[in-house]
Symmetry: C2
Amino acid sequence: MMWSSCRSGAIGSGLCVFSRYRITDSFLYRYSLNGYPYKLHHGDWFGGKSVGLVILKVQGIIVHVYVTHLHAEYCREKDDYLPHRLLQSWELGQFIRHTGKTADVTILGGDLNMHPNDLGNRLLQCYTGMKDSFVETKKFEGSEGGCTLQAQNCYATVWDCPSFPSGIRIDYVLYKGSRGFPVKCDHLMTTSGTAPGKNIPYSDHEAVCATLSVQKDEGAATGAKREEETNPQLVDILNEARAEVKIGIHGAERIRYSSGRMAVLGFVLLLLEVVMAIIPLVTTTAENSFPKVSFYILGMVAFAVTLLAGILYVFHTIEVKMLQGTEDQMRNTIQALQEQLGE
Amino acid sequence: MMWSSCRSGAIGSGLCVFSRYRITDSFLYRYSLNGYPYKLHHGDWFGGKSVGLVILKVQGIIVHVYVTHLHAEYCREKDDYLPHRLLQSWELGQFIRHTGKTADVTILGGDLNMHPNDLGNRLLQCYTGMKDSFVETKKFEGSEGGCTLQAQNCYATVWDCPSFPSGIRIDYVLYKGSRGFPVKCDHLMTTSGTAPGKNIPYSDHEAVCATLSVQKDEGAATGAKREEETNPQLVDILNEARAEVKIGIHGAERIRYSSGRMAVLGFVLLLLEVVMAIIPLVTTTAENSFPKVSFYILGMVAFAVTLLAGILYVFHTIEVKMLQGTEDQMRNTIQALQEQLGE
């Protein structure tokens, strides 16, 4: 048994892979954005959410196993983290595409924190060409609809209980084969309810277990691993994603502006205080009539506001930059796809 | 002409690629560590240093062009950023290895902020199998020793002028071919001195211009792109790098400990103040004899110290985690290499 864990963030990314087969190589990519450090009650930022890759050789077949955990969705109606999760989906797809070109078999397992038809999920599957094992499996056993987040789980916080009484499917096993290595999902299973002999479940989510089979076809394995197929649907999905990322940019710019204004106000107040403190020292006629206690408190408050608002300004500037970069990349990809489709 | 720029950090990564040939795809990896945000006078942190990849198709040859800028070296004798730069070299090498498997030709250009024989440079070249165009070129024109950082440059801050009077070579063009696509460096050039007709140079560093030629050998192009050669030297270099990263971990743990202690002290002081403020309110006998001004100032200071030291604690915890993760990865790689060499 080999294992590979992924240290990241302040408390760790929570990703770990245990393997019966030798792990020949590994790599970690930390998402550019992952929530806000000041949202302590959500806490995703502190996890340093990432995607890990381990490369296995199983009976001569090169298998790339990706494992990830995307930012949680706390409120579906007003999802502040949608742009971050979309950026993560995009970076995840890019990471898989760029590192997975020589893989015979590609598998992604993880808590994507997205419903099956959510934009990020469609983007990921369409962009990478990976298939959802729940949709493809020949045989399924487990919870209704494959739901892995269930209200009856004592550790889970289902934010949208009323809308989804039977739970939500947010944990996935996606896969794709390549030329000469077609992959099928023979069996998919989720745990359900409490662990045997206990009155508590294994975890806050139900576990997902997929049995995949590879039919090695030596004859077809020569040449390019896989055709770079251009899916016309991808253009629409990317346009939709780009619109959402743009909304995210506006939101981030708004917070950046507020933080910047607050920092400037704090700084002006601080300057005023300094002037007020200096005047009685340099003149003999003027007298500082302002109460001392209030004066000092105001000074400290001004200092704290300037500093904290300044830090926030830098943080949200990074957020804006990262979202803009993602939007740039999406726009370039759309252009390239349209040119390919036009040819 | 196509171009691709890389938005990252608060002020941008400063990376940009202009290409005569169509850029078919691009990808960006931001390094896990990149200095400290509170070292404002160094400022590297705000750049969000990254490595960018653009994929070109030049006359049917797939060319991966990587572009990067690593953390600066401000003091060679006591280089606080060595562990960060080593981590960046390691991640750069991993990024090139994992994303470059299908490339016919791989090129890396960038300001590596490392001397030619520095550990990070040796690690990068040995791990990726890339060659230094300055060493390999048939013909060289330009500044003495290919030095790109020169004391006489009016924009440059050469921190180690006395030790390196003719300058330092810190900007590189590295390359490698693949089976069927051997690459040679025909010509290397650096700019030197001021721009023609002006009395200022083009930039703070001399520019590097490499002319590479690819001799396509169709016969040999079948099969694996390149043999996964195991360089026995790599084990020694990795051990050396691991030792440096470990020193970095100790350093980061020390600062984390100091920050944590400061945060706890600040918090205890804050609690004491709260108690002192409450006592006169609940008892009639006690009297608050502590001067009011000092009392409030102390409270504000305690609050600010707790908050800032807390933020520093989280930041340095992330630093420790990232360095530990790198050390883990290096150890695993050493193990895998030793097993391969043993076989």
